[in-house]
């Protein structure tokens, strides 16, 4: 017995090394499996505060771009408002279901931390459960989609972006060659360039053209339908696969991203629950 203790004591540093490595390894594996910031909650108060300060410092160098983006968005929203005001009086559509009319609400939030050059990129926003933010809410900007909320604390939330090499998002491609017919597909980032993503699962028989727009499909609960994702920029020649290899230029500029909207889907819980029930049907 004494010999064992002596042995452990003599190689205590090596044992400590092994134990620490095992702890790290478990964290990494869990992180990789569940694709979320498990254990090290970046949304917590301390890191959130520090991130906000760091962002404050950084913001001074980007005031011009932020102003530019905000004023552009203002102009766009103004236009939209005018258009809606007009059309409202021109053709009043009798929709009776109040719940569906106001199904989505948009909560503006400031980005306090982000990564764009990693294989899995996240952003932290300065809105949390105190503002009604919950897990699995979609996040968009005026230009396009950003990602979905994965961790929430009181005043901060972490968003897993579409720049993530293991996440997929359901989209539709509007095919110019087929008079705007939509083809259902999904996007998955290839972790190379934050300006592009890959469009997957489109057979060679589908006539995709450069310039086709890609929008959200509305088949997941995170995003409303027809939110812009990007435009088909390159269709790479394919020899071995029966699917297209398509590069989509993202409409969201992650480099200058500083304000986002969190999508609150009031019927999200209802939809998730009713869909969950269908997976429990025993197979025959």
């Amino acid at each position: 017995m004494q010999a064992i203790f002596d042995f452990v004591y003599r190689f205590r540093a090596t044992f400590l090394f092994l134990i620490l490595q095992i702890i790290c390894f478990l964290m990494i594996v869990r992180f990789n499996n569940y694709q979320k910031a498990y254990f090290l909650n970046t949304a917590s108060a301390f890191s959130g505060k520090l991130n906000a300060w760091a962002n404050e410092v950084n913001n001074y160098f980007h005031l011009r771009e932020v102003n530019q983006a905000l004023s552009e968005e203002n102009a766009r929203l103004n236009n939209e408002l005018m258009r809606l005001k007009q059309s409202h009086f021109e053709n009043l559509i009798p929709i009776r279901n109040e719940a569906i009319i106001s199904k989505y609400q948009f909560e503006p939030a400031k980005v306090v931390n982000k990564t764009i050059h990693k294989l899995r990129n996240f952003i932290t926003i300065e809105k949390g459960s105190a503002n009604g933010i919950q897990k699995d809410m979609g996040v968009i900007t005026s230009e396009g989609i950003v990602g979905r909320v994965i961790e929430v604390s009181e005043h901060y939330a972490v968003v897993s972006t579409i720049l993530h090499n293991q996440s997929t998002f359901s989209v539709k491609v509007k095919l110019k060659n087929l008079q705007g017919e939509a083809y259902l597909s999904y996007i998955q980032w290839d972790s190379r360039n934050f300006r592009y993503t890959k469009l997957k699962d489109i057979p060679l028989s589908i006539p995709v053209a450069i310039g086709d727009t890609v929008v959200t499909s509305g088949y997941n609960v995170f995003f409303p339908e027809k939110i812009m994702v990007g435009v088909v920029e390159r269709i790479n020649p394919q020899k071995t696969s029966t699917f297209h290899d398509i590069d989509v230029r993202l409409s969201t500029d992650f480099n200058t991203l500083s304000y986002v909207y969190v999508v609150k889907n009031r019927l999200q819980q209802e939809q998730t629950e009713i869909e969950k029930d269908t997976t429990n049907i025993p197979r025959k």
Binding site: F17, I28, N51, T115
Partner: protein, 172 residues
């Protein structure tokens, strides 16, 4: 000893805050990242025990991970760095033809520029390779991992040397 401990804690906080406020926002071309905080682990006083340096490295790694959205990756690389560091200090002693005990601190003014660069370069290379391959997780991204490792090692190494000249050269 007490003064050393306080210095060390101040340096720990300094490197950490520098990473959070400045270094993590410095990336060049999407392949060169700046993990200058590694400089703290490289220049830890050689007299501390191996277990102590492993724990310090683990703590530093976890803190960095917290801000990099990557649980365990930096911690693992830092712990590995702390584990192999004594062997490289041994090599350093052999190159400068002194006993290991005679190296009181690891800095450019103690060992010379070439030795420091070799020592730091090798450890940073190990560290970065672990970080980027754990991040990639699959061998599909091997080429990208190697590119990132190479360019980031150079970037970090230059930063670590600059820190040496800025903060640790005027004393004595």
């Amino acid at each position: 000893m007490n003064k050393n401990l306080i210095n060390s804690i101040v340096a720990f906080i300094g490197y950490f805050l520098f990473h959070v406020f400045v270094a993590r926002k410095m990336y060049l071309g999407g392949v060169a990242f700046n993990y200058v905080y590694v400089g703290y682990l490289l220049t830890l006083n050689p007299s501390i025990t191996k277990s102590q340096s492993l724990l310090v490295a683990f703590a530093m790694g976890l803190l960095i991970d917290w801000f990099e959205y990557s649980p365990g990756i930096h911690a693992s690389a830092c712990v590995f760095l702390a584990f192999v560091r004594p062997y490289l200090i041994g090599l350093l002693a052999a190159r400068t033809r002194v006993d290991v005990e005679e190296i009181r601190e690891i800095s450019i003014r103690e060992v010379d520029f070439i030795n420091f660069t070799l020592y730091a370069g090798m450890l940073i290379l190990f560290h970065h390779f672990i970080v980027f391959s754990l991040e990639a997780w699959t061998s599909k991204l091997l080429w990208l991992t190697l590119q990132k490792t190479f360019f980031s090692t150079i970037f970090t190494l230059i930063s670590v040397i600059l820190v040496q000249y800025l903060f640790f050269s005027s004393k004595r």
